[in-house]
């Protein structure tokens, strides 16, 4: 697979911690870039670079209002991640629920009369 695909999908876009921070901020509402610079404490060129990546995958939309460009989260672009995490979580949760049963059994055996190890 070509390395050029690095930022081509939502998974890659949110793999970078700073970009996740930007998404967290935008989850609270629309913001101009200056707000992001201030809240994240990093330089504007860096913020702009991350916003560009997020816009490429559709995770962030922009609109112009007066002299400002306002950025907002587009949750739909992140749905593949949400789906994957939920599905993966469910599969591990099911596995762990069975493990709970095994552990309950082991605990009872251990708390039993002390010489019942099978």
């Amino acid at each position: 697979m070509a390395r050029a695909a690095t930022t081509a999908d939502a998974f890659n876009a949110v793999a970078e911690p700073r970009r996740r921070q930007i998404l967290d901020v935008l989850a609270g509402g629309e913001r101009p870039v200056n707000d992001l610079v201030r809240l994240l404490g990093i330089a504007q060129p860096q913020v702009s670079k991350h916003l560009r990546v997020l816009r490429e995958v559709g995770a962030v939309d922009v609109r112009v209002e007066g002299r400002q460009r306002l950025y907002r989260l587009n949750g739909q672009a992140l749905k593949p991640i949400h789906d994957w995490v939920k599905n993966y979580e469910r599969s591990w949760s099911e596995r762990f629920e069975r493990l709970d049963v095994v552990l309950e059994d082991l605990k009872q055996k251990e708390q039993g009369d002390g010489f019942d190890d099978e």
Binding site: T6, N12, K79, I81, D83, W84, N87, E89, V102, L106
Partner: protein, 159 residues
């Protein structure tokens, strides 16, 4: 039976997946359930099928292999090798999904006990981003078929 909550999955870096869960049991029992073939058979497939084979050679350099028959009837196998073992606390092992033998991951299991309860963490470290993406893609199919009704919660769930 005590329910200890659901598993939490996060993506800490572009080539990592972290799974966390708390158990209402001391760590030596979690370790035992994790490393004893007859016990692994009882839980490892979750609700997705039956475990048909569990081989565990629990020593550094020893290998493991699990096979499960999924509910759709197809067989899936995983194997790997133990790299580090700290009884009741930590296991570092490799994992290869036999349907995709080029993608080897390194899994680190960590067990931490507080007041008789155990926090379990599994950190899945893929050899590169492409393999993690493949792992993600393979798990994503089911999710993609689901209804779109959770859409509005996406942003909240990522916070």
């Amino acid at each position: 039976m005590t329910s200890s909550g659901k598993a939490t999955v996060t993506l800490p870096a572009e080539d990592q997946i972290l799974i966390t869960r708390e158990f209402d049991a001391p760590k030596h029992l979690v370790y035992k359930a994790w490393t004893t073939p007859d016990l692994v058979k009882q839980w490892w497939s979750g609700e997705r099928g039956e475990v048909t084979l569990v081989e565990i050679d629990l020593r550094v350099g020893g290998s493991w292999r699990y096979v499960m028959v999924a509910d759709g009837g197809f067989e899936v196998g995983f194997h790997g090798e133990y790299r580090e073992l700290v009884p009741d606390e930590r296991i570092v092992s490799t994992e290869v999904y036999e349907g995709m033998p080029d993608g080897e991951a390194v899994n680190t299991l960590t067990l931490t006990e507080t007041d008789g309860r155990t926090t379990l963490e599994v950190l899945v470290q893929h050899s590169c981003k492409e393999h993690r993406d493949a792992h993600i893609d393979s798990g994503m199919e089911g999710g993609m078929q689901e209804a779109m009704d959770r859409l509005e919660r996406v942003a909240i769930s990522l916070r």
